[in-house]
């Protein structure tokens, strides 16, 4: 941020007199606003795509009335939610009730800071990138639990308790499944992880093809990520048919919209992490994105990254519309008895492999023969 602020001050003579800290702050605010707009737009467009994909899979047309092919449906939904009456139940805990959606959204949105969108396009390349994401996305648990408790509704309470149990239980498999990528890169920083893949090997530089254990780890991560973002088959906290919408049953209007948007933001986070850690991030196949002239490197890498992340999001939607829901004890059993041991064994396997082959993956070994 500071470097960018300095560059701007040097480029535009009118800003020369402004103190550096003010400029840095301004740049930070602008970047935050850009990310917020991206998150909200993704929430809206994501909901439209979700409904269209649902329609395709279910042999029907999705929304197609508002705008050409129904593209403006999410705007209509947004306007409707804003205009709805704001109902707070009589005996609800007002402060917690009002605070909960914002906590959930902050928990999801704060992770946007370390998503590597492209070459040099990252809000802040923290050297604890992955660790930071894991920590910050755990905030949603508090928000959901607050929402469940403060609603003064037994169904909401059940939904909140289930969500707490679920998200906390699946944090471990998510973290352990991301470790192979960290081990291969040798750093927790997101940009380092992305840079450790790709290069001239193109597609085969991706972590997912590095060794069989990382291949397995990708699918484990995907399953745990589906659970982290409350998608079917792990959508018990908001199981429509059992809990009548679970923890957000008493929310209406813009508060409900916040829960909804944070669910999509969460989906994007886990998809972006999958793309960055396993699918080569912003590497353009068979090109060196960092070497491309001027702004082309940035734009192309941004496009590639978004395509990969959105592909993972589509995959999550596809799984969502196919599978039924797990019961809460089966979900816990799956996490603790299947996912956790498998991810640990996986981590052990990756460590052994890296030790044996000195950090080289299968494509690199094959390439070194020639």
């Amino acid at each position: 941020m500071e470097a960018l602020a300095l560059k701007l001050m040097n480029a535009v003579p009118a800003l020369a007199g402004v103190p550096l800290w003010v400029m840095t702050l301004l740049v930070m605010v602008v970047v935050a606003v850009i990310l917020l707009v991206f998150a909200l737009t993704f929430g809206g467009v994501g909901s439209y795509v979700l409904r269209k994909v649902a329609g395709d899979i279910q042999a029907r047309i999705g929304p197609n009335r508002v705008g050409p092919y129904g593209i403006l449906q999410f705007l209509a939904d947004g306007v409707k939610l804003i205009m709805k009456e704001d109902i707070i139940p009589a005996k609800a805990d007002r402060f917690l009730f009002i605070l909960a959606p914002y906590l959930v959204f902050v928990g999801a949105f704060a992770a946007f800071v370390v998503i590597p969108f492209g070459v040099g396009l990252i809000a802040s390349d923290l050297n604890i990138g992955v660790y930071y994401v894991m920590a910050v996305t755990s905030l949603v648990v508090i928000g959901i639990l607050m929402a469940g408790w403060a609603s003064n509704n037994k169904w909401a309470l059940l939904g909140g308790m289930r969500a707490a149990a679920q998200i906390v239980s699946y944090e471990i498999p998510v973290g352990m499944a991301l470790m192979p990528a960290v081990l291969i890169a040798g750093s927790l920083s997101m940009q380092d992880i992305v840079r450790s893949q790709g290069g001239l090997l193109g597609l085969f530089g991706w972590n997912v093809f590095h060794n069989p254990f990382t291949f397995f780890s990708f699918f484990l991560y995907f399953t745990a990520a589906q659970a982290e973002s409350n998608q079917t088959p792990f959508d018990l906290p908001e199981a429509e048919s059992e809990l009548v919408s679970g923890y957000n049953v008493e929310y209406s209007g813009i508060r409900f919209a916040f829960f909804f948007l944070s669910e999509f933001a969460d989906m994007f986070i886990v998809a972006a992490l999958a793309a960055a850690c396993f699918l080569g991030g912003w590497h353009v196949p068979f090109l060196r994105a960092e070497a491309l002239p001027g702004i082309w490197g940035n734009l192309l890498s941004l496009g590639v990254f978004l395509a990969k992340a959105l592909g993972i999001v589509l995959l999550m939607m596809w799984v969502r519309w196919t599978l039924p829901r797990l019961r809460v004890d089966q979900l816990m059993r799956m996490s603790w008895k299947y996912m956790v041991p498998l991810t640990f064994v996986n981590l052990l396997g990756v460590s052994l492999w890296l030790l044996l082959f000195r950090g080289k993956g299968i494509p690199q070994l094959i390439a070194s023969v020639f």
């Binding site: 048919s241 009548v244 196919t322 039924p324 829901r325 797990l326």
Partner: protein, 376 residues
């Protein structure tokens, strides 16, 4: 160091799975007392849809009551129409022409297929898989089109009459039925691949709410609920009526293929297999149907002799029995209806002890209840 149990007081929750709930298949209220997620007691509270059909039966004539039987189980209206017609014909000793009997069997079995499709679709939707519901509705629309061409309505048919059926089949109906059967048979395999044998679905249903054969008979369960516990009893085979003796089909029972015998999965699979058997019956009936009249000669002012009759027939949700007392006038003196869903509520409280809340939904779905049948 373990904390003594008294130091940490816990309380049971009394949750109202109220009349308005996405998964109770109607206006059913279940009072749940739970210890966290585990159910201690689940008491069903029915009556939210009571319309006094049996009282209406005493007020209208025999012929006028036919449209009300549509609203008894609206997803299997043909079956209820025919059951009532057979009951009154048994009371008055009326002989129905053979073509009419074949037509009744054809529409009953088609309606069995469409009713089981709804049972399948809504059950999987309750379990969280939203897609199969849409597919089953699509299939059902074709059956609705067939029924519309026969009697003019898509849900409340009022097709059977005392002495036969109201109108003959339109030209092309039998061909269209055969087309539907050819189209639909592979779809059952598709549903099995998509959801029936999916590991998550199986795990939700296996070993949940196991009802032993002895219990099933003791509590008076009927239909697929009874057969899911392994009891090979089907009214079409064991107390045959109409032209069922001339038709070949297997009685589907639960086999405990994915868990204990008599669990939710068995009841679910019995319905899927019954759809296949219905297709078999339909193919035979469509081939065997003779020409002839479709209505017997019944006096305009229909006054059956004084007496009483109980007739039961195999409807998709169990046994629908009509107990009619006639006093020789144009209106029944007492018209009592016994339905399969009502007796399923009998065993609900016993079988849900110790289950989790998510399993309550599975149990309601596996019993395939429909509230108008329970509440009449």
């Amino acid at each position: 160091m373990t904390r003594p149990a008294e130091a940490l007081p816990t309380q049971e929750m009394l949750i109202n799975m109220g009349p308005q709930h996405p998964s109770t298949h109607g206006v059913l209220r279940v009072l749940l007392r739970t210890d966290g997620e585990v159910v201690v007691n689940a008491r069903p509270d029915v009556g939210y849809l009571h319309r006094g059909l049996e009282k209406i039966g005493e007020r209208v004539t025999y012929a006028q009551f036919m449209p009300f039987t549509d609203r008894l189980d609206y997803l299997a209206a043909m079956n209820c129409n025919c059951a009532y017609a057979w009951a009154v014909e048994k009371l008055a000793g009326i002989e129905v022409p053979e073509r009419a009997e074949y037509i009744r069997v054809i529409v009953s079995e088609l309606n069995r297929i469409s009713s089981h499709l709804i049972a399948f679709g809504s059950f999987t939707a309750d379990m969280g898989a939203f897609t199969p519901f849409l597919y089953s509705i699509r299939e059902r629309e074709i059956v609705n089109d067939l029924f519309e061409s026969v009697c003019g309505n898509r849900l409340t048919y009022n097709y059977a009459r005392i002495g036969g059926v109201s109108a003959d089949l339109p030209p092309g109906f039998l061909e269209k039925t055969k087309e539907f059967l050819d189209y639909f048979e592979p779809k059952i395999d598709e549903y099995n691949n998509l959801i029936s044998y999916n590991k998550i679905f199986v795990h939700r249903l296996a070993n949940v709410a196991v009802i032993s054969a002895k219990d099933a008979v003791a509590y008076g369960l009927t239909g697929p609920n009874l057969r899911g516990s392994g009891v090979k009893f089907d009214l079409r085979r064991d107390e045959p009526y109409s032209v069922y003796p001339k038709l070949e089909f297997d009685v589907c029972v639960g086999t405990g293929e994915r868990g204990a015998l008599g669990d939710c999965f068995d009841r679910y699979m019995v319905r899927i297999n019954e759809m296949r058997q219905s297709i078999r019956i339909l193919r035979q009936a469509v081939a065997q149907i003779p020409e002839g009249p479709v209505m017997a000669k019944v006096p305009r002012l229909f006054k059956p002799a004084a007496g009483e009759v109980y007739f039961r027939s195999e409807c998709p949700r169990g046994e629908t029995g009509f107990y009619i007392i006639s006093d020789g006038t144009t209106n029944p003196s007492r018209l009592k209806i016994r339905t399969g869903s009502f007796v399923s509520m009998n065993i609900f409280e016993t079988v849900t002890k110790g289950l989790m809340i998510a399993d309550i939904v599975a149990v309601i779905g596996s019993f395939d209840i429909i509230l108008p049948e329970i509440d009449r």
